[in-house]
Amino acid sequence: MKVRGIILWLAVGLPLLWGVFKTLQNAMKLF
C-alpha cells in the first residue's frame, strides 16, 4: 500500500512540479 501510494503521488506530483517550475521560470521575466 505504501509503495502504491508513493508511485501514485509521484505520478501526479512530478508533472505538476514540472509545470510549476516552468511557470516560475516564465514569471521571473516580470522582475
Binding site: 500500500m1 508533472p15 511557470t23 516564465n26
Partner: protein, 453 residues
Amino acid sequence: MASSFLDRENTIAPPGYNRFLVPPAALAVHLSIGQAYAFSTFNLPLTKVLGITHSVPGDWNLKEIGWIFSIAIAILGLAAAVFGRWVERAGPRKSMFVSALCFSSGFIVSAIGIHYHLLWLLYLGYGVLGGCGLGIGYISPVSTLIKWFPDRPGMATGMAIMGFGGGALIAAPLSVILMNHFKTASSNGVLETFVTMGVIYFMFTMIGVYSVRVPAEGWKPEGWTPPLKPPPLVTQAQVAVDVAWRTPQFWLLWVVLCMNVTAGIGVLSQASPMIQEIFTGRVTPEMAAGFVGLLSLFNMVGRFFWASTSDYIGRRNTYFVFFALGIVLYSTVPSIGYAGSIPLFVAAFVIILSMYGGGFATIPAYLRDVFGTLHVGAVHGRLLTAWSVAGVLGPVLINYIRQYQIDRGVPKAQAYSVTMYIMCALLLVGFICNFCMRAVNEKHHYRAAGKSA
C-alpha cells in the same frame, strides 16, 4: 467485464484502506481537464493552419477561434448540472472514464476538424465533447473526497480542485513543446499536438480511473466522531438535489460563486494587455507573460490554501474574507496604477487570483455543510452553471467597459479604473448574499422513506 470494473460496487475500499491514496486519483483527472485554462496557447497557431507561418486568406481568425473555449466552458457548467445525478449514481470510476473518453475524443474530433479545415468540428469536438468531459470530470471526485475526509472536507476538495488550476501550468509549456516538435514545412504542428494531447490525457486520467475508491457505507476516519454540536450552518441532515436547488440557500450560493468568479475571470482573461496598458512602456509582452504565469500559479495555490483554511475558520467566514479583501484590493488598484508601483500591482492581483481559485475550491465543502453529503456532487454540478454565466460576464465587463472608456477619450492607462470599481460592486453583492446564508429549513431535509417532509 469492462463495465463491471467501472461500477461503483467494485470501487468500494477494503477495510484499512489508506484514504490518502484517493486524492492522487482526483488530481489525475483535474490536472488533465485543467488543460482548458491553457487553451489560449493554441489560439495563434489555429489562425495559421493553412498559411503555416502566417495567416492567409481562408485561415480562421481569433474571434472565431475564441468561441471554442467559450463553448467548452458553457458546456462544462451545463454538463455538470445535467449529469450531476448520474455521476452520483454511477460512482467516480465510471464518471472519470466517461470524462476521459469525452475530453480525449474532443481533441481527436478537433484534430479531424483541423485536417479538413472545418471550424464547426472544433466547436463540436473541443467545445461540446470536450466541455462534457470537463463538466463530468470536474465533479466526478468531489463527493468521494468529501466522504473520505469528513474531518477536512475543504482540504480534500481543495487538493483536487487545485489540480484544475495546476493543469494549465502543465498544459501551457507542454503544448508549446509539442507544437515545436511536430512543426514541419507542411504543418504548424497543432493537429499532431491535438492528437498527442488526446492520447496523453486519456492515459493520465486512467491513473484516476484505476486508483479511485469509495469508502464503505458508514466508514469514518479512525478516532474521529462527528461533533455533537456542529458549528452554525453545518448540518448533519441531508437535502436531496431536486429539493436543494429550490431552496434560497442554493441561489444565494449560486450568486456568491458567480460574483467571486466574475471578479477573477475578467482579470485573468485580460491580464496581459491590462498590465501593459496600465504601465505603458514599462512592461514588455514577455514581462506580461510572466505576470499571467504568476496569476495562474496563485490561482492554483489559492485553491488549496483557502479551502484548507476554511476547515478552520468556516466556509462563510472564508467567503467574507474573499469579498471584503477583494473590495479593498480592487478599490486600491487604480491608485496603485497612478502611483506606478508594479510590485504592489502584482501583489494585489496575485492575492485576488488566489481568492478566485479559493472560491472554486471552497464551494463543494460549503455545499456539504449546508446540504449534507447525500447529493453533494449533483448539487455542486448544478451550482457550476454560475461559472458558465461568470465566464461570459467577467470578460465582457472588462472588455466592453474598457473599450467604452477609450472611445470616450480616457487614456488607456486609466481605462480600467471604472471596471475595478464595478468589480467592487459585484463583490459587495456576493458579500450580502453570503451574509444572508442561513441553515436550510428542516422541512427540506431528506427522510429515510425517500421524501422531503
